[in-house]
């Protein structure tokens, strides 16, 4: 599997009951904050398709400060670039220092801790991540106009973070996915054709920087005022800033059916907003290469998602169905490649 995907293929964290988790989270928070934190009811599992288990956990009144937290439990093993709880905590701290809106880290720990898995606890942030709700619910309308500028500013700040301050590693944008395609044993001539074009037309890169790796609608917390936080940092790595610039423009992440005109990521103005925020002279032709690379990558990820179902790692009609979405990316690639 590609480094970006390997988290998903791993055994799930040991499953504790909600009662056991609530008690464990209470202990973790008490140790982190230095005051006794009593669980208020049971933690609630967030519906997230990712490999990590995410829980919302509340503590009883009586302590100052935030009382609602998100706890993520990490899979047992880590290979490739999937961040460990400790390195993600460190990255979030670096990002926060750099002015990127991120959830505040409360505690993080390795697999030996009370929840029985490596964990990351962050403060709860009110808002919405689902694009259909962000674009259709009038609550969020006042924040939409400035969303593009805020996203550009947040992304430019991410790319300006000190590269040496984290343990992130470089990740090639296409080779791991080419390897996955080859290893899948499936024949996808259009993906082979796109890969061939990508290697024959690879542009000169920008100086390496910290890349978020999954900067797109769905991973951005938005409320009525606009962008609240950039979430889901598990695919962060060292790479080219254009990878992040192009990724939200990949059709799967544009949500064209629900997104109002001009709102992030609006093809016409997103590049200039990012250019303004970053000071880079953005070359649309080079970003196009990255959009093609992103579409190729997502096509291969669709394929590997279905393999997770086929091979029994996670049986799910959703993962099986995603396997058919390879075709959407093949069609888009044929339209995108000049």
């Amino acid at each position: 599997m590609a480094p970006g995907q390997d988290l998903d293929g791993h055994p799930r964290p040991p499953r504790l009951s909600a009662e056991e988790l609530g008690s464990a989270f209470g202990d973790v928070l008490t140790a982190a904050i230095g005051k006794t934190m009593v669980p208020a009811g049971l933690p609630r599992r967030l519906s997230s398709g990712a490999s990590r288990e995410s829980w919302v956990f509340e503590v009883a009144p009586g302590v100052e400060g935030p009382r609602r937290f998100v706890v993520q439990l990490f899979p047992e093993r880590h290979i490739g670039t999937g961040l460990t709880a400790m390195s993600e905590a460190q990255l979030l701290a670096v990002a926060s220092d750099g002015g990127v809106p991120v959830p505040r880290v409360v505690a993080a720990g390795g697999p030996g801790g009370p929840p029985g898995a490596a964990f990351l606890v962050t403060e709860w942030i009110d808002g919405e991540t689902l694009p259909s709700r962000i674009f259709r619910d009038p609550t969020y309308r006042p924040g939409l106009a400035g969303l593009q500028r805020e996203c550009a500013s947040a992304l430019a700040r991410i790319h300006d973070l000190p590269v040496d301050a984290t343990h992130l590693r470089p990740l090639d944008p296409i080779e791991p996915y080419r390897d996955d395609l080859a290893a899948s044993g499936q024949s996808h001539p259009a993906l082979e054709w796109a890969y061939r074009w990508l290697i024959q037309n690879r542009p000169q890169g920008n100086p390496p920087c910290i890349v978020h790796g999954d900067f797109r609608l769905g991973n951005l917390m938005v409320d009525g005022r606009g962008l609240r936080a950039v979430l889901d940092w598990e695919l962060a790595h060292i790479g080219d800033p254009y990878e992040d610039v192009a990724w939200p423009m990949v059709r799967a992440w544009r949500f064209d059916r629900v997104r109002p005109a001009g709102v992030f990521p609006d093809r016409e103005s997103w590049l200039s907003a990012y250019g303004e925020a970053s000071g880079l002279d953005v070359d649309p032709d080079i970003v196009r290469w990255w959009e093609i690379a992103g579409t190729f990558k997502w096509g291969v990820i669709c394929l590997t998602q279905w393999l997770r179902h086929r091979d029994g790692a996670t049986r799910s009609v959703e993962l099986a169905a995603i396997g058919r979405r390879v075709a959407e990316n093949e069609y888009d690639l044929l339209g995108l490649i000049p």
Binding site: S47, S187, H188, W193, S316, V317, R324, E328, E330
Partner: protein, 131 residues
Amino acid sequence: MSSSLPLPPESKGEDDTGSVGLVGRPRADELIEAVRELLSDEVIGVTSGQLHHQIRVAINVLAMVERELRDGPMLEHAHRARLALAGVSSDSQLASEIRSGAMDGREDVRPLLLADAVDRLTLINPSWLES
């Protein structure tokens, strides 16, 4: 026409005189349609959260399978004909020839891939072709 005459092969399964294929009516696509209607008319409305989402995915999957059962054989035939025209016998041969560079400079490859992609989406997700 007398009902005792054999039906032409393309009428198999389409006829309601009782002279049908091995399993007859309802056809597989008609059964899938019935299950899909159960999910969309009776089940999805009483679900919420993650299960609601999964049922919606399941409804889409069944609609996809219905299209595949009805139109798949015809589009598969066209796909085979395109491969033959390009001088390859299978998708895997085409993929490996593209990979090796043997198809570099062949101007007929891109139109073939596009026609395949359009037909595949016609079965899988026709709405993707709209914009």
